[in-house]
C-alpha cells in the first residue's frame, strides 16, 4: 500500500496522503497531470473518487497560499451534494493544514451570508446552477469572479439532460468573459456518448479531452425475491415490505429508493407500521423541510440509521459511507438511473455495488428484467439535447442585463461559444433580445415601458434598474407546481415541508394525509400555509407530490418489446410467467413490425390501448391523431395517457375501427390546429413562459385570502394565438413540444413500418398488459363533446342532490 505520493503534489498534501496510506487512482493522477487543460471531462463510475479527482488540482494550486479570492467554483445539481462535498473536503484541508476556505451557497444559504460571499468570496465555493445564475446577475459579479481559475461541474451527465444544464453553460460563458483563463472540468458518470457531454462542457469550438477511469467491477444486481407476488397494477411496492425489512436487518445501511415522493411517503409509513424491531429508519425527499432533510442527513453521516427511504433528492453521487445495499422500488425507468442508484452502494473503489430491485407490478417485473439485461450489456440510454432552448436564452439575456449594460454583438458571440447554442442564428438571438426588451409583440404597445433600452447602437441596459429584482426572483428553469408550506399548528409550529396547492384545495378540516412519514390532520390554511396536527391513529389520504417525472427511455421500451415477443420467459418469476401467459391466451402479445390495439370497457368508459413501444412522445402524438379522428367521427374521446410502451385512450363510446384514424401522410398538417388547443401545448407554454420571464413564478405566501388569483396562462396562450400567431413564445412552445412532447418523426416511421399490419382485438375487460396504464400520471384531457356531456350530467346531478330545481 505504500506507493509513493505523486511527485507533483505539494508537500503538505503528499504527507497527508502518505499518513492516510491513500494511493491516488490512475485517473486522479491524470486529472492532476492535465490540470492546465482549458476543458477536461472525467468519466468515472460512482465511488471512483471522482470528486477528489476534480478537486486535487485546486488543492494543489491553493496549498502554497497566496491566492486572493475565489479560485474554484463547484457546481452540482443538488443542494445536498454541496453539503456533502463540503464535509468531504474538510478532512484533507484540515489535516493537511491547507490555507483554504470552503463555503457553500444554495437556496438554503441566508441573505447575510450570500451578500458577504459576493464581497469576500471563499477560495472554493460550492453551489447550484440557479445560485450561480443569481450571482452573475449582480453588478459586482466581475469582482466576485475576477480571480476564478477553475470550475468543476459535477454530475454533468444529469445536468446536461435538461434546461438547468443549458442555463449553467450560459452562465459559464459569462464567467469565461470575466475570467478568461478559466479552466473547465466536468465529472460524469458512465454515459453512452461522452463526446456529446464534452461538446456540452467545452467552450465552443475548443477541444475537450476525455479521461476515462477504470469502470470497476460489475455490480451485483438482481430482482429481490419476495414472499408475495406483485399485483397486476400497483405502484407502491407494499407487498414487498416484509422482504425489504429482512434485507435492512441483514445489511449495515440500506437506501430504499422510490420514483416519486408520494410513493416514498406511503412506503415509509407502511414500513414503519411493520417495523416490529424498531429499526432506526429515516425518510428523505425534496418536499420535506430543510430542517427535516438535514436531520436525516446528519443521522446518516453518524451511522445512526439502518435505512433511508428516499427519492431523487438523495440520488446523485452523495457519499454516504456505509451504504452496502440499495433497494429500488418500482422499475428504474431509465437504465442510467439504475446505474446511478447502484452507485450509492459500497462506495469503495473496486468493491462491487449491491442492488436489489422490487418491481411494483407485474409489468415492472418485465421492465426490471429488461433493465438488468441492459446494465449487463453496458447499453446505457440517453437523450441529450444539443439545441439550446430559447426560453433559457431569454432568461439569460435578462440576467446579463441585471448585471449592467451589454453589447449585443459581444453577448451573441458569447452565447455561440456555448455548446448547445453553437448553431444559434443571429436572427434567432435577436428575436430573444427583442422579446426581453419590448415583449416582441406585433402591436408595439410598450415603447414607453420597455424593459431594455438601446442606449447607443448595440448597447443595451435595463430601462428601470428596479426591474432587476423581479428578474432575480424568477431565476431558474425548474418549474414547480404551486406548493404550499405545511407546518404544525400553534405558535412556532414545526415546518414539515410542502404540498401542491391543487391537493391542498381538495382538503377540508379533519382530512388526514402523509407528510414526512407521519399522518397529519388538516386544520386550516393561513396565509398560504397549511396548518396540521399529528394524528397517527388515522388512515391517511394520499398526498400528491410532483416529484421527478420518470419516463422509460425509448431504448428500454424497445428492449421490452423484444423480450415480450421472444417468448422465452425463463428469466421471469413464476407469477409473471403466468401473467404473460394470460395475456397471450386472453389477448395476444405485441410483436415488432405489427401494432396491437386492444379495446375494452372499464368503469363505464370505453378504452383503446395501443402498444407502439415507441416512447411517450410518439404515443402522445399518436393519441392526439386518433382522438382528433374520434372527435370528428362523434366517438366522444375524453382523455388519453401515455407511457413509453403504449397509449391508452378513454372515451364514452366504443371504437370499432381504430386503424382508420391512423393515416401517416399529413400527420403534421392534420394535427396542427388540434394540437394548438390541446392541454399538452398549454402546459408547455406555461413552463416556457415562466422560464422566458413572460409570467412570474407563483410564490407561496404572496397571495392572501379574499384576493383573486392571477389569470391563467391559458388565457395568454389563446390571446397570442388569436392576435399574434408569429410571436416568439408560440415558436418556443412549438420547439419545446417537438422535443419534449410530440414526436412526429417517430409516429410517421411507426405507421409506415406497421402499414396495415394492425391487430385490433375487442375484449370484455382490461388485459394484463393494459392494467398498469391506469396508474400512469399525466392524463391529457380532451375538450370536446364528451366533456360537455359529462359537465351537463354532473351539474344536473349536483342540483338534484342539493334539492334545487333547474328553472
Amino acid at each position: 500500500m505504500d506507493a509513493p505520493a505523486p511527485p507533483d503534489l505539494p508537500a503538505p498534501l503528499a504527507d497527508f496522503f502518505a499518513r492516510r496510506h491513500w494511493v491516488l487512482h490512475p485517473h486522479q493522477r491524470e486529472m492532476l497531470a492535465r490540470a492546465a487543460a482549458p476543458s477536461l471531462l472525467l468519466i468515472a463510475p460512482t465511488g471512483g473518487g471522482k470528486t477528489l479527482a476534480g478537486f486535487l488540482p485546486t488543492l494543489a494550486e491553493l496549498a502554497e497560499g497566496g491566492h486572493e479570492g475565489l479560485h474554484t467554483l463547484y457546481v452540482s445539481p443538488l443542494k445536498a451534494l454541496a453539503n456533502d462535498i463540503k464535509r468531504n473536503l474538510r478532512t484533507p484541508i484540515e489535516e493537511a493544514g491547507l490555507p483554504i476556505r470552503v463555503e457553500d451557497r444554495t437556496g438554503d444559504t441566508s441573505q447575510t451570508v450570500r451578500k458577504r460571499q459576493r464581497a469576500d468570496p471563499p477560495h472554493i465555493l460550492l453551489t447550484t446552477p440557479e445560485s450561480l445564475a443569481l450571482m452573475i446577475s449582480y453588478p459586482d459579479a466581475h469582482r466576485t469572479f475576477a480571480g476564478l481559475k477553475r470550475i468543476v461541474v459535477d454530475e454533468i451527465h444529469a445536468l446536461a439532460e435538461n434546461k438547468r444544464g443549458d442555463q449553467l453553460m450560459l452562465a459559464l460563458s459569462r464567467l469565461q468573459t470575466i475570467a478568461p483563463g478559466l479552466r473547465r472540468v466536468g465529472l460524469s458518470a458512465t454515459v453512452d456518448d461522452p463526446g456529446v457531454i464534452a461538446h456540452y462542457l467545452a467552450r465552443h469550438p475548443d477541444p475537450c479531452p476525455i479521461v476515462d477511469a477504470d469502470p470497476g467491477p460489475a455490480p451485483d444486481i438482481d430482482i429481490l425475491p419476495t414472499t408475495d407476488a406483485p399485483p397486476w397494477a400497483g405502484s407502491g411496492g407494499r407487498y414487498a415490505i416484509p422482504d425489504v425489512l429482512r434485507e435492512i436487518k441483514r445489511h449495515n445501511t440500506t437506501l430504499v429508493f422510490h420514483n416519486t415522493r408520494a410513493q416514498a411517503e406511503i412506503f415509509f409509513h407502511n414500513l414503519w407500521l411493520a417495523n416490529e424491531d424498531d429499526l432506526p429508519i429515516g425518510i428523505h425527499h425534496g418536499a420535506l423541510s430543510k430542517e427535516a432533510r438535514q436531520r436525516v442527513e446528519a443521522a446518516m453521516v453518524k451511522g445512526e440509521l439502518k435505512a433511508i427511504v428516499a427519492t431523487g433528492s438523495l440520488d446523485l453521487g452523495i457519499d454516504w459511507g456505509d451504504v452496502d445495499l440499495v433497494i429500488q422500488i418500482g422499475a428504474p425507468k431509465k437504465v442510467k438511473n439504475l446505474v446511478q442508484r447502484i452507485g450509492r452502494a459500497n462506495h469503495r473503489y473496486n468493491a462491487p455495488s449491491k442492488a436489489r430491485l422490487v418491481p411494483a407490478n407485474r409489468f415492472e417485473v418485465v421492465e426490471c428484467v429488461a433493465a438488468l439485461e441492459a446494465v449487463r450489456e453496458g447499453d446505457l440510454d440517453g437523450d441529450l439535447r444539443l439545441d439550446g432552448p430559447r426560453d433559457v436564452l431569454c432568461q439569460h439575456i435578462a440576467i446579463v442585463a441585471c448585471a449592467g449594460d451589454f453589447e449585443d454583438d459581444t453577448l451573441f458571440a458569447e452565447v455561440r461559444s456555448v455548446g448547445p447554442f453553437a448553431t444559434l442564428t443571429r436572427a434567432a438571438f435577436d428575436e430573444c433580445l427583442e422579446f426581453v426588451a419590448t415583449g416582441g409583440y406585433a402591436l408595439r404597445a410598450y415603447d414607453r415601458y420597455q424593459r431594455l433600452k438601446e442606449r447607443a447602437p448595440g448597447l443595451w441596459g435595463l430601462r428601470d434598474p428596479r426591474a432587476a429584482r423581479q428578474i432575480r426572483m424568477n431565476i431558474g428553469t425548474i418549474i414547480d407546481t404551486d406548493n404550499l408550506k405545511v407546518r404544525m399548528k400553534g405558535r412556532g409550529g414545526m415546518p414539515l415541508g410542502e404540498i401542491e396547492e391543487g391537493f391542498a384545495n381538495t382538503l377540508s378540516a379533519g382530512d388526514t394525509f402523509l407528510m414526512g412519514g407521519q399522518v397529519v390532520r388538516f386544520e386550516n390554511m393561513r396565509e398560504m400555509t397549511v396548518e396540521v396536527s399529528p394524528r397517527p391513529e388515522k388512515e391517511p389520504r394520499i398526498a400528491t407530490y410532483i416529484g421527478y417525472k420518470w419516463t422509460t427511455s425509448v431504448q428500454l421500451a424497445e428492449r421490452i418489446q423484444r423480450i415480450l415477443h421472444a417468448g422465452d420467459y425463463a428469466a421471469f418469476p413464476g407469477h409473471t410467467r403466468d401473467w404473460l401467459d394470460l395475456q397471450r391466451r386472453y389477448s395476444r402479445m405485441p410483436e415488432p413490425g405489427r401494432l396491437l390495439i386492444e379495446t375494452f370497457p372499464r368503469d363505464g368508459r370505453n378504452h383503446v390501448c395501443l402498444y407502439g413501444f415507441a416512447g411517450r412522445n410518439a404515443h402522445q402524438t399518436l393519441a392526439l391523431l386518433i382522438t382528433k379522428g374520434m372527435e370528428e367521427a362523434g366517438l366522444e374521446p375524453l382523455s388519453f395517457v401515455c407511457s413509453d410502451y403504449a397509449a391508452l385512450i378513454s372515451g364514452l363510446k366504443p371504437v370499432p375501427d381504430v386503424a382508420r384514424f391512423m393515416h401517416h401522410e399529413g400527420v403534421r398538417d392534420a394535427l396542427e390546429s388540434w394540437l394548438r388547443g390541446n392541454a399538452v401545448m398549454k402546459r408547455t407554454f406555461r413552463n416556457a413562459a415562466i422560464v422566458a420571464g413572460l409570467i412570474d413564478r407563483n410564490f407561496p405566501g404572496k397571495r392572501s385570502s379574499g384576493k383573486q388569483a392571477t389569470f391563467s396562462s391559458d388565457i395568454l396562450y389563446d390571446t397570442l394565438h388569436r392576435y399574434d400567431p408569429e410571436h416568439l413564445m408560440l415558436k418556443i412552445t412549438e420547439e419545446e413540444a417537438m422535443r419534449g412532447h410530440i414526436d412526429f418523426g417517430r409516429v410517421e416511421l411507426l405507421l409506415e413500418t406497421v402499414g396495415d399490419r394492425i391487430d385490433q382485438i375487442d375484449l370484455e375487460r382490461v388485459t394484463p398488459l393494459a392494467a398498469p396504464l391506469f396508474l400512469e400520471r399525466g392524463i391529457v384531457p380532451i375538450k370536446g363533446r364528451a366533456e360537455s356531456r359529462l359537465i351537463e350530467e354532473e351539474a344536473a346531478k349536483l342540483l338534484a342532490e342539493a334539492g334545487l330545481e333547474p328553472d
Binding site: S712, I715, S788
Partner: protein
C-alpha cells in the same frame, strides 16, 4: 344553450350569457362587469411583465358581439371598467373610437368601481349605482342588498368531472343577490369557496358557469 342560461331573479326573466354578460330582455338591458380594460398597459407601466397587449381588442370584440346579438337600449358597465384612471388616458385612439361607437346611441352607465372612479370623455354617464325596476345595480354587494346585482369579486367555481376540476368564471345567485363574473379577458377569479363569497351568499345559492356548455350548479362552498 349557445345563447345562455335563463333564470328568474326578482321576478324577472334574466339570461346569463356564456361571455359573462347579463341580459334582461324585458328591459332591453345588457350588463357587464369588471372589464379591466388597459390591464396589460398598467402592469407594464408599473414595471411588471410585458404581457401580450391584446386584452382590450379581445374584450371589446366580445362586448361588440354581445351588443350585436342582444341589441340593448341600455348598457350598464358595473365598475372596474378600466384597470385604473391612467388606463383610460392610455387607451390607444383606435380603441377609444371603437368604445365611443359602442356607447353612442345607447343609455350607457359607467358605474364607479374601486379601480376607476368613472371614465370620462367616452360618452355615457357615471353613477355610483342604478335602480331599474326591482333591481339595484352597483359595483360591490352591500350588507342589506335586496335584489342587488353587482360585480367586483370575479367569482369562479369548479365542477369535478371524473376527478378533474373544471374551473370557470361564474355568476352567483341567491334569492336576493346576483354577482356577475369578470368580463375582461385578463381577469383572474376568486373561488366561490372563499370566505368573502360564502359569507355573502345565502344557503341555497347557485353558480352558473360561464363558457360552454353553460351549466348551473349549487354554489360550491
Amino acid at each position: 344553450m349557445g345563447n345562455g342560461h335563463t333564470f328568474t331573479f326578482a321576478g324577472e326573466r334574466l339570461i346569463a350569457r356564456p361571455s359573462g354578460a347579463l341580459h334582461w330582455p324585458a328591459a332591453h338591458l345588457l350588463v357587464v362587469s369588471d372589464l379591466h380594460l388597459g390591464k396589460s398597459e398598467r402592469i407594464a407601466r408599473r414595471g411588471g411583465a410585458l404581457l401580450p397587449p391584446y386584452e382590450v381588442v379581445d374584450t371589446l370584440t366580445r362586448l361588440e358581439a354581445d351588443i350585436h346579438e342582444t341589441d340593448p337600449a341600455a348598457v350598464i358597465s358595473l365598475g372596474d371598467s378600466f384597470d385604473d384612471m391612467a388606463a383610460v388616458e392610455g387607451l390607444a385612439p383606435a380603441f377609444r373610437d371603437w368604445l365611443e361607437r359602442l356607447v353612442a346611441g345607447r343609455d350607457w352607465t359607467w358605474v364607479t368601481g374601486n379601480h376607476d372612479p368613472a371614465p370620462t370623455g367616452l360618452g355615457g354617464h357615471a353613477a355610483e349605482g342604478v335602480t331599474c325596476g326591482p333591481m339595484t345595480f352597483r359595483h360591490i354587494a352591500t350588507d342589506d342588498g335586496t335584489f342587488e346585482v353587482s360585480g367586483h369579486y370575479h367569482p369562479k367555481a369548479s365542477l369535478s368531472v371524473r376527478g378533474r376540476a373544471i374551473s370557470r368564471p361564474c355568476f352567483l345567485r341567491d334569492d336576493r343577490r346576483l354577482i356577475l363574473p369578470a368580463y375582461g379577458t385578463y381577469t383572474g377569479g376568486l373561488r366561490s369557496r372563499d370566505r368573502a363569497l360564502t359569507e355573502l351568499m345565502g344557503s341555497g345559492a347557485r353558480a352558473i358557469l360561464a363558457g360552454l356548455p353553460m351549466v348551473e350548479i349549487p354554489m360550491p362552498r
